[in-house]
């Protein structure tokens, strides 16, 4: 039995005077303990709806769902002690209270033993660099600081699973980087299972070995990140800067797809070696510079959405 088991999970919403919206359409997957899984898809694809069902605050329309062996919507509060949830646009922190007070109340809610609480709090404050903000009321925190507070709040009770719904939305580059570093450390230290939804592919590239792609409620990809790159990315691109403007380069094994002044773009199969193409170009033309572009994961995913 997997830690998270999802089979043919479906959720429809009744929208007034219109047909039902199928937000999640017969989705199936398993997640094992300690995995870090990225869950990506465009706006409205069904990511948040899936997370809500996994936490138990939304009842599935049909399908089978087990988290740590239990049906989340039936045993929501029992499960709450084993999972942590962070919704990027929502907060569990108390707006008018200092950060410290929210944490202390959570200690009581989850009955965290005092020694464990202090140990966890110290560790998270250090990793997330929040120590100086403990006495600041939540409403005075920046978005990035608040998000770090919310993540601490979600983790104080040592959950086995952490769901993060768009945790990096609206954060600046530095905050994003710090958050990714923290999540990596968390997974390494405690083997916490992570399921992370995002629009930001850099989150996935930095954190997740496994990616699930959802579009219009259906899972269109579930596999290793490298596999995703290989799949859509059937070709690589050689970018050539010539000394002078020239007509399109002609070399065997590659096709020139674009010419812009002295710069030209040549594509070739991703599984072919670049070396003979590079030597052929260098032999036949005056080259100022050369570079190779790997398939862009964004393009790959766009292709996935389009080819649905």
């Amino acid at each position: 039995m997997s830690l998270i088991e999802v089979r043919d999970l479906r959720r429809t919403f009744r929208v007034r005077r219109r047909d039902d919206v199928v937000a999640v359409h017969d989705v199936s997957f398993d997640i094992e303990p300690g995995e870090m899984v990225g869950y990506i898809g465009p706006n409205g694809a069904g990511k948040s709806t899936t997370i809500k069902m996994l936490t138990g605050i939304l009842v599935p329309t049909s399908g089978h769902l087990r988290v740590a062996g239990v049906d989340p919507s039936k045993r929501r509060t029992a499960l709450a002690s084993r999972i942590g949830v962070v919704f990027g646009q929502r907060t569990t922190l108390w707006w008018d209270l200092p950060l410290r007070d929210s944490f202390e109340l959570l200690q009581k809610i989850y009955r965290i033993p005092p020694a464990r609480y202090r140990q966890n709090l110290d560790r998270f404050l250090e990793l997330l660099d929040l120590g100086d903000l403990l006495d600041t009321p939540v409403r005075q925190l920046s978005l990035g600081q608040r998000m770090r507070g919310d993540i601490t709040a979600a983790l104080l009770h040592d959950p086995e699973i952490l769901y993060l719904d768009e945790p990096t939305i609206g954060l600046d580059v530095v905050s994003k980087g710090r958050l990714r570093e923290f999540l990596r450390a968390l997974n390494a230290e405690r083997a916490t299972t992570l399921l992370l939804t995002t629009h930001d592919l850099q989150d996935i590239e930095a954190l997740c070995d496994r990616v699930m792609v959802i579009d219009h409620g259906s899972l269109v990809f579930d596999g290793a990140l490298t596999q995703l790159q290989a799949r859509g990315g059937s070709s690589r691109t050689l970018v050539v800067d010539l000394v002078d403007e020239r007509p399109a380069i002609e070399v065997p094994g590659a096709v020139t797809v674009r010419v812009d002044g002295p710069r030209q773009w040549l594509t070739f199969p991703a599984d072919a070696s670049a070396a003979p193409i590079v030597s052929a170009v260098a032999a036949g033309y005056d080259v100022a510079d050369l570079s190779i572009q790997e398939p862009d994961i964004e393009d790959v995913i766009r292709e996935l959405y389009a080819g649905r």
Partner: protein, 270 residues
């Protein structure tokens, strides 16, 4: 301290502390309550000079009633607000879904927070204006330890009834997007039917009989009559019984409606 009650104590303590940080608002509020107390006192002294013994109150009773009213306004959040207003905001923002997911009862949570808030407002916006009134006017005080005890029971019951009504109002945000009209109406009803503007003892006939048993009579009229000795013995017990009855019915309604709201969030998706 990790027992079940300690969470609620912790919540109440945090709420008390939160309101205690709004120093400016507290000072301004004490000033306002005091000024309104003085004005109302002079108006009602003039009225009572023309109609002595109206409603069975003498001039000392009615002036005391005025100051008790000023003290109750924030202590029971008579007009509205307090912890249930925080709930309404969380319903509107959608954050309430996270409250349902936490392993702690929402009703108990917000009640504990409102008790903490109330305790702060009793000590600041309740006690201080009463002291001001006592310095400026001749007030009547409870005539003995039983009266003090009865008043000490009446006050938290007043808070429970007011809390339940405010909580019910806050929950309408689950169904109604714009609750400004309902909030305004509830506020006006509370101000009038609590007897804050005109003591309910002045209303004659069936209307008087009715307003004196509505839930809002628990806000001010019953505690004030206990304090003044207008209700003593069985009459005091009946007053406390009225408050306790409304508190039980309305809190029961809160619990029921909360379950309906929870089903709505969890089954229909908000």
């Amino acid at each position: 301290m990790n027992g079940p009650g300690s969470l609620y104590v912790a919540i109440a303590t945090r709420a008390f502390r939160r309101y205690s940080t709004y120093t400016g608002a507290t000072v301004a509020g004490i000033f306002t309550n005091s000024v309104f107390g003085v004005i109302s006192s002079f108006v009602l002294i003039a009225v009572w000079r023309a109609n002595p013994d109206a409603g069975g109150y003498d001039t000392t009773d009615v002036v005391t009633y005025v100051w008790l009213g000023q003290a109750m306004i924030m202590t029971i959040a008579l007009w509205g607000g307090g912890a249930p207003a925080d709930l309404a905001a969380r319903i509107k923002s959608g954050d309430v879904a996270l409250d349902f997911y936490r392993p702690v009862g929402i009703l108990g949570w917000y009640l504990a927070a409102d008790v903490g808030r109330s305790a702060f407002h009793l000590l600041s916006r309740g006690l201080v204006p009463t002291l001001v009134g006592g310095l400026l006017f001749d007030l009547r005080y409870p005539s003995g330890p039983w009266v003090w005890m009865a008043f000490a029971a009446s006050l938290p019951l007043a808070l429970l009834v007011s809390f339940a009504i405010r909580f019910l109002l806050a929950m309408t945000a689950f169904w109604i997007l714009d609750d400004q009209g309902a909030t305004l109406l509830a506020s006006a009803a509370a101000v009038f039917f609590s007897g804050l503007t005109v003591p309910l003892v002045l209303f004659p006939g069936w209307f008087g009989d009715l307003v004196r048993v509505l839930p809002w009579a628990s806000y001010l009229q019953v505690p004030a009559d206990v304090w003044l000795g207008q209700r003593s013995g069985w009459s005091a017990v009946a007053g406390l019984g009225l408050q306790a009855g409304w508190a039980a019915i309305l809190l029961g309604a809160c619990a029921l409606l909360l379950r309906v709201a929870e089903r709505r969030v969890v089954v229909q998706g908000g």
